[in-house]
């Protein structure tokens, strides 16, 4: 049985195996039949999709359904669960901690995203210029996003430490100090700087986790916006220069509209990820103090893993689903519109 060769022998037909087999030129053996089967687009398509689809069915679809089921049971670690209907959800609705988590998650996501968008855009505009070492600068600036969040959060935990915070050290030193530069003495004395309780005070704790989230996310926004900026044809800027536009006008009328598609994709993707954030908060505050920084994910973890209350934990986790679904559907719809436009 001949295998297809690039230069067929003079007497052999240039037709593919399917055709040859179909025309009865050969008696197709098992391997040929298998091969010709894989020539069919449908069979090959299904075969190629199989690994991805199998993984997703076993480790995403099934657990998701299981999670929905779990949220209607009183399952606790070690004991099988019994169906309890809406009990878990009702208990959550009555729970102050749950609503605190809802508020926290929304506040966290909204504030962080706004700042990431603005600062990311600003950084992208800066990086878009030509300057020495631009490539290496772009690469280094992306580091906060590349590094494992848990590890960089540990660095921030140390920087926010109640006793040894470097920020408080700077504050203390600047607040009450005496420096002599070139003969003149600079003195500040605004009283004793008590230091900020970065992670122990409810307000500052929320401030801190938002700050770290912004620190981590700005590079991603910046590089994505930069990619968008570089697709804008320079002729448009030249044309607007001729028309007498200043910097601001150029930004609003030329740049922004053209990078809107990329911006929407990046912002929605970031909202989805920020909404489901876990690592950052887990390392910095575990949701404290007094649940003031609990997000959906950390609350679900605490209920499910720390307390062993799997049913309730699953219910909290599932609360993320409708919002995420809405966001992603909205993004898909927007992309479809942009594609067909």
């Amino acid at each position: 049985m001949e295998t297809p060769k690039k230069a067929p022998a003079p007497l052999a037909s240039p037709l593919g195996i399917e055709a040859r087999a179909a025309l009865g030129r050969e008696n197709p053996g098992l391997v040929t039949r298998a091969r010709s089967l894989l020539e069919g687009e449908a069979v090959l398509g299904y075969a190629l999709m199989l690994p991805a689809v199998a993984l997703i069915l076993v480790f995403v679809a099934y657990p998701f359904a299981l999670g929905v089921w779990m949220s209607f049971t009183d399952k606790v670690v070690g004991r099988p669960g019994h169906f309890v209907g809406m009990d878990n959800y009702l208990r959550l609705f009555k729970s102050g901690i749950f609503w605190q988590a809802v508020q926290n998650t929304i506040l966290f996501t909204v504030v962080a995203t706004i700042f990431k968008t603005i600062l990311g855009m600003y950084l992208a505009l800066l990086l878009n210029r030509k300057f020495a070492f631009s490539r290496i600068t772009r690469a280094t600036v992306l580091l906060p996003f590349i590094i494992p969040t848990v590890l960089s959060s540990l660095a921030w935990l140390w920087m926010f430490d109640a006793t040894f915070s470097v920020f408080n050290w700077i504050g203390r030193t600047a607040w009450q100090s005496e420096i002599s530069i070139l003969g003149t003495v600079l003195k500040t004395n605004w009283g004793y700087f008590k230091g900020i309780n970065w992670l122990g005070d409810p307000f500052w704790a929320m401030f801190s986790i938002i700050l770290v989230n912004i620190w981590r996310g700005v590079p991603f926004f910046a590089i994505s916006f930069l990619a968008g900026l570089q697709t804008v044809p320079p002729e448009l800027y030249d044309a607007s220069d001729i028309d007498g536009a200043n910097g601001w006008q150029k930004f609003w009328k030329v740049t922004l509209p053209l990078i809107k598609p990329i911006a929407i994709v990046v912002i929605v993707f970031s909202i989805v990820v920020t909404f489901a954030d876990f690592q950052l908060v887990y390392v910095l505050t575990r949701g404290g103090p007094h649940n003031s920084t609990h997000l959906f994910a950390t609350l679900a973890y605490q209920l499910g893993m720390a307390s062993g209350n799997l049913g309730e934990g699953a219910a909290v986790a599932l609360f993320m689903f409708p919002t995420l679904a809405l966001l992603i559907v909205a993004q898909l719809w927007y992309l479809r519109r942009a594609e067909t436009a």
Partner: protein, 282 residues
């Protein structure tokens, strides 16, 4: 918006150099802090009066402690193995699925594509509780396979999407020619599409490796024995004993745990950025 003609140096300094410097300083300061802390002896570290930005007597005690007295080296190897294996698995699934979705027409391909993309709707923080159950039923709890098999669920959707974008740019004529010459579809895929799609495959690979290395929640929930942990979980759970934080060793561990990803990334940063650009553009 490149350099603007006629900009004085002073203006450039204020409008460009200073803001840029501030951004870069803000992004990089924590890494500097990690490094400084990891080589500062305890007496200097825990002395509030010291100027914290300098080190007077650099020491290697924390690094030695990290590698000699803790399981850190073990965690590093675990993480390397898990990241590599799950990247390989997700690339395998992603390349196949990406090819199928971008080059073949078959009933259910749209549904399949949507199914893969919709997986994004179900982030790990939503799934981890029931998934722990599934992993336990499969007797994979506390093994690296629990992670190697579950990480692709996070990696495959984006990889497939990325690869689809790349494969779409390869002209169909190349495949047609190969098939006219007698190659099977599979041969055409392996000999033509794969080599030409290499940049995309590389991007997807780097992305997957980075994501696997950085993953935390599944590793925290599925693995409990100290010798099997990954770097992220180990550093957070084993280097903090009760209320005592071994900051020197912690920062050394954090720094060392970040280095491999930074290296992989630095070699392929052009690719990474191009990959994200390509994916984001469409």
């Amino acid at each position: 918006m490149g350099t603007t003609v006629g900009e004085t140096y002073l203006k450039r300094l204020f409008v460009f150099y200073i803001p840029l410097f501030m951004f870069v300083a803000a992004m990089l300061f924590p890494f500097y802090w990690m490094l400084i802390t990891s080589i500062k002896p305890d007496q200097e570290l825990y002395n509030v009066r010291n100027v914290p930005f300098i080190v007077r007597n650099a020491t290697s005690q924390h690094w030695v402690y990290l590698f000699k007295e803790t399981l850190f080296a073990r965690w590093a190897l675990n993480t390397l193995w898990i990241a590599t294996a799950s990247t390989a698995l997700s690339l395998f699934a992603g390349v196949l699925a990406g090819y199928a979705l971008s080059r073949l027409r078959f009933p259910g391909s749209t549904a399949g594509g949507i199914a893969i993309f919709v997986t994004y709707l179900v982030p790990p923080t939503l799934l981890f509780i029931p998934l722990a159950d599934v992993v336990s039923e499969l007797h994979l709890l506390d093994t690296s396979w629990a992670l190697i098999l579950t990480y692709p669920t996070i990696l495959v959707p984006f990889s497939t999407w990325l690869l689809m974008g790349y494969f779409k740019t390869i002209p169909r004529e190349l495949e047609e020619c190969a098939r006219i010459d007698g190659a099977t579809r599979l041969q055409a895929m392996v000999k033509i599409i794969l080599p030409l799609g290499m940049p995309g495959i590389l991007s997807a690979g780097i992305f997957s490796f980075t994501l696997s290395w950085n993953e935390f929640l599944y590793a925290l929930v599925f693995i409990s024995s100290p010798t099997s942990k990954t770097i992220s979980v180990g550093v957070v759970s084993e280097l903090i004993k009760g209320d005592v934080f071994f900051w020197g060793a912690l920062m050394a561990g954090a720094l060392f745990g970040s280095v491999p990803v930074a290296i992989v990334y630095s070699f392929f940063v052009e690719n990474y950025v191009a990959g994200m650009t390509g994916a984001v553009k469409g």
